[in-house]
Symmetry: C2
Subunit: 107 residues, 2 copies
């Protein structure tokens, strides 16, 4: 009945792996696994939903139009809806496990 966030970590990932762990009206909890992945050059996420994101394991760098954020295990940040961002880098040494909660930004 429990699941472990570190179970079934793929060792050879062609693309980022995204899995929904829980969901309800206007909310989605996702596990994302990256290993050496980054957003394509010039690509920006521009989302209708707000996103709270935590790096649980690994290391990553998020890019924003006004700078970048290095994320290590335990680091988390809320990305408001419409704030353009991209994954600039994730470590190739080990899987980076992200936990992301997407939620409606409206009131």
């Amino acid at each position: 009945m429990t699941t472990n966030l570190f179970a079934d970590l793929p060792t050879n990932l062609a693309a980022e792996l995204t899995q929904t762990l829980a969901a309800g009206p206007g909310v989605r909890v996702e596990r994302i696994v990256s290993q050496g992945h980054a957003s394509p050059p010039g690509f920006w996420y521009d989302q209708d939903e707000a996103e709270w994101v935590l790096v649980v394991r690994g290391a990553a760098r998020l890019g924003f139009e006004d700078g970048a954020l290095e994320l290590r295990p335990g680091d988390h940040v809320t990305i408001p809806a419409g704030r353009r961002h991209r994954v600039e880098w994730t470590t190739a040494d080990e899987p980076t496990v992200w936990l992301a909660v997407f939620f409606s930004a409206g009131g």
Copy 2:
């Protein structure tokens, strides 16, 4: 701009510490820190919201009317709205850091 989930862990907790990390309509992301805490005898949580909960660090046991669940780092479970549960035990050895996402159960 980032915050770390393991920052400012209290070392002497009279009661569980709950902090809201992000929130939107119908959703709330909380960090909960326990150390040796448990629900009072006979106490049950009976929530209107669904809860997805992850143990990030430490160790805990959740009780349900039909059994118990041991949780170690990375273990997560969704507790539907109205499913009675309690915290039976958290380790006294170190802080247990929970991540909980509460969300509306309705459609």
